[in-house]
């Protein structure tokens, strides 16, 4: 058998430059790195997370322990942020409050996404009657003060579930139940646009099932705006919890919630302003950090939208 003649190899170098694969996240990170305000926000959030994690295992004093020193003691070497009206160490309580803030913020963002994203995907993908029902609900909801519904829900849920000392869980659920509409509306809009794109068409022609199309093709492409929306939901949830606790409708008294601490300090404000200053500054700084990071993420994920 005659040997096949060796195929002549062309004498050229076939290496060509492979374009660097850039994922959504690494691309966004590259732009986010240049935004100093967003980085500062990120650093503050990191600090918040670290403090919250430390407070699980250690605080200088127990957050509930009263009379660790003279009441209303101003900040000093022994108690860095001073003591409150009941003689509790404010630094310890700020640390405990950080944990509650993290739980409320991240818990709400997660539950809200779990409700809003699937509903938005379904409404945008199937359109028709399903969309009409979901959109009607969303539009009705835009006409009402949702924070006040959430406030009522906190009461109803805690009574219905017999959680008489109200916990973080009830607040998170009440908030998420009244705020998933923003997320659903966003995802619905994204889905409506994405479902007409060529790659979704290609997936449909290759026989992908609806579920696979929704979660493997449409959802990942809407991820940027979803992350931005979820980031902005966190400060809103934190503010809601502070608002409730400040009014005395939130977490019960010994809990070191920043809102409740501000309400406690408010009564002795004219002679011991440090009690009210610590929680309000911590709260404002946290909200600022999340808003800055959210703004930065929005610019990073969508470079066309410059504010």
């Amino acid at each position: 058998m005659a040997q096949a003649a060796p195929v002549a190899q062309p004498d050229v170098d076939l290496t060509y430059e492979v374009p660097e694969q850039v994922t959504l996240l690494s691309d966004a990170w590259r732009r986010l790195r240049r935004n100093r305000l967003a980085l500062l926000g990120g650093a503050i959030i990191l600090l918040l997370l670290i403090v919250a994690a430390i407070s699980i295992v250690w605080t200088p004093y127990p957050t509930w322990l009263e009379a660790v020193g003279p009441t209303y003691q101003p900040p000093g070497a022994k108690h860095l942020l001073g003591l409150d009206a009941a003689g509790r160490d404010i630094l310890s309580r700020i640390m405990g409050g950080a944990l509650i803030t993290v739980q409320v913020g991240i818990g709400s963002a997660i539950i809200l996404s779990l409700i809003g994203i699937p509903l938005g995907l379904i409404a945008g993908f199937y359109r028709g009657r399903v969309d009409v029902v979901i959109s009607f609900f969303i539009n009705i909801w835009y006409g009402i003060p949702d924070l006040l519904v959430a406030l009522i829900l906190v009461f109803v849920l805690s009574d219905a579930l017999h959680l008489i000392p109200r916990g973080v869980f009830v607040i998170v659920v009440a908030f998420a139940l009244t705020r998933w509409m923003d997320m659903a509306r966003l995802v619905r809009g994204q889905t409506l646009a994405l479902r007409e794109r060529e790659f979704v068409e290609a997936a449909r022609m290759s026989g992908a099932r609806d579920f696979a199309m929704l979660f493997r093709h449409i959802f990942p492409n809407a991820l940027g705006p979803i992350i931005v929306q979820a980031t902005f939901a966190i400060p809103a949830a934190v503010l809601f919890e502070a608002f409730l606790s400040f009014l005395g409708l939130g977490l019960p008294p010994p809990t070191p919630s920043w809102g409740a601490m501000a309400a406690d300090g408010y009564h002795g404000m004219d002679f011991a302003p440090h009690i009210v200053l610590a929680p309000t500054l911590a709260l404002s700084l946290t909200l600022m950090a999340f808003n800055w990071l959210g703004d930065g993420l929005r610019d990073a994920f969508d470079p066309r939208m410059r504010r």
Binding site: L37, P145, L148, D159, L249, S284, L287, N291
Partner: protein, 313 residues
């Protein structure tokens, strides 16, 4: 004109439907909890409890209660307070609405006035110290909750001003005097003012670079005319779009502000009745709020085509 009236009519119906729907949901939610308003009272005998429940019709089956309530609402009667027997809710809430509306209107003036002023000056003096100060203030300001601002204002106006002026000028917590309106209104309006300022600055920066503004400058018009009549009028359009959420925010914010400053408005009533478990009033306040937010949004939508004649209904 006829189209506008038709549009307003449709919207009014939608507001009525929304209000009815939402307050019904709140009604049904709150009635899942048994009449706990009376359980807090000391010396409650089973007989007196039954008499109380009978007086308010709370011993009827829930559908019957709902029907009674809905018929009452259609007649403008929101029922009777559970705690203070004989106090009718509708007149009480109308009185409180006027108080809340006063504070809210002043807050809106603070928000829009200050926001526009800061935004316009920041845009006109872009990249100067005016811009940097205004923009930084806006970036910081919109993250500070209104109750934190309220606390600081109370500290400054209620405490330090009293000390500095030997008690001649200071803010007295309470209600009943015109001098008591501005401080709560500032606390309520300030966080949203920074939002308006950011938006105004952005849209103003776009507008002052357009051809028609350049033409206006080239014609030799005075700066005031160019800014107010050519640039600002068009820069206002995106700002008007957020007026709706803004009004909702001010209404929600008033709940905490009224409690801090001791203002006898809807917000204070809302919190007091929730704590006292006076659910009839809670439902009533909620119905009022839902209607108010709807009407506020409608007003915004009616103003919109006045500013932007391209929009017609």
């Amino acid at each position: 004109m006829r189209g506008t009236l038709l549009y307003i009519g449709q919207r009014l119906i939608l507001i009525a439907v929304t209000t009815a729907l939402v307050s019904s949901i709140v009604f049904l939610l709150l009635h899942q909890i048994p009449g706990s308003a009376f359980l807090n009272e000391t010396r409650t005998t089973p007989q007196s409890l039954a008499a109380h429940l009978h007086h308010y019709g709370l011993d009827l089956p829930l559908p019957q209660q709902y029907a009674n309530w809905a018929i009452g609402v259609l007649h403008g009667n929101l029922g009777e307070s559970l705690i203070n027997r004989g106090v009718l809710i509708t007149p009480l809430l109308i009185r409180e609405t006027s108080v809340s509306a006063t504070v809210g209107a002043f807050a809106l003036i603070v928000t829009i006035g200050l926001g526009l002023l800061l935004g316009v000056f920041a845009a006109l003096r872009q990249n100067t110290w005016v811009d940097y100060i205004a923009s930084s203030a806006a970036v910081v300001g919109y993250s500070i909750p209104s109750f934190v601002i309220a606390i600081f204002l109370l500290l400054i106006f209620g405490h330090y001003f009293y000390d500095w002026t030997q008690g001649t000028v200071y803010y007295n917590v309470g209600w009943g005097d015109w001098t008591q309106v501005p401080v709560p209104a500032i606390a309520l309006g300030l966080p949203y003012a920074s939002y308006v300022a950011r938006l105004t600055r952005a849209s103003m920066l776009e507008t002052i670079r357009t051809d028609y503004v350049r033409t206006a400058w080239a014609k030799g018009l005075r700066a005031r005319i160019v800014v107010t009549r050519h640039a600002l009028r068009n820069a206002l359009i995106p700002v008007v779009t957020i007026l709706g959420p803004l009004v909702t925010g001010i209404i929600t914010g008033s709940v905490v502000i009224e409690n801090i400053f001791g203002i006898p408005g809807l917000g204070k009533e809302f919190v007091t009745s929730i704590l006292a478990r006076d659910y009839n009033i809670v439902i009533g306040v909620f119905t009022f709020y839902a209607g108010l937010v709807g009407l506020a949004n409608l007003t915004v939508d009616v103003i919109y085509p006045v500013l932007d004649p391209r929009i017609r209904y």
